[in-house]
Amino acid sequence: MLRIRRDLVDAMVAHARRDHPDEACGVIAGPEGSDRAERFIPMLNAARSPTFYEFDSIDLLKLYREMDANDEVPVVIYHSHTATEAYPSRTDVSYASEPEAHYVLVSTRDPEADELRSFRIVDGEITEEPVDVVPEYDSAAQSLPE
């Protein structure tokens, strides 16, 4: 399950809408071992394509050095699909290299309806997981209806 703050969900969707018709992409970092997405990091899609995304290789190096210095890991790796459903493509699966990350897909195919889904991709296998949107990460927080 992905438990995630509402403002982070809104930030991913806003980024996807802003970059449409190109795919948007980014990371939400969190403390190693916490499984808590905290720090929203939108990334440049170096491919600038409606059907492909890639982090620029130097951006990637800076990102991982920064996370390492902060004892963070990429808890969420997100990107958008601009004409298809919010489900990992074969390409997404072949590139997925962070077995502990939640892979979040946002679809911007419908200008009216937001689609956001989360998946684990491990050893080439996709497993969808529920997304529990919360106002804060306090344990007393109630889930918001999605």
Binding site: F52, Y53, E54, S57, L60, L61, E98
Partner: protein
């Protein structure tokens, strides 16, 4: 030339879980061969048909080796080699 190699999560099965390991070589190709000698199987995850795998980024210090010779990139004593899988998809 002795270098420190940073290993990404997905390749740590080859290094017994270690995040950084030592290796030696004067080119990236030699460093990778040396890594493979000590951590069997890792070369196959990095090199495909004589060139660096498309899905893997390798840096010597701050430079992406794609721009400094690929497998022929020079490596000096004390350098840091960082391996990061590309973050990409469609």
């Amino acid at each position: 030339m002795a270098v420190t190699v940073s290993i990404p999560t997905i390749l740590r099965t080859h290094t017994g879980g270690e995040k950084t390991v030592e290796a030696s070589g004067t080119t990236l190709a030699e460093v990778i061969d040396n890594l493979d000698a000590n951590h069997g199987g890792i070369k196959g995850r990095l090199v495909k048909e004589g060139t660096l795998h498309r899905f893997v980024n390798i840096y010597v210090n701050d430079e992406d080796v794609r721009f400094s010779g690929g497998l022929d990139a020079a490596v000096s004593d004390g350098d840091n080699v960082t391996i990061l899988p590309a973050v990409a998809g469609g």
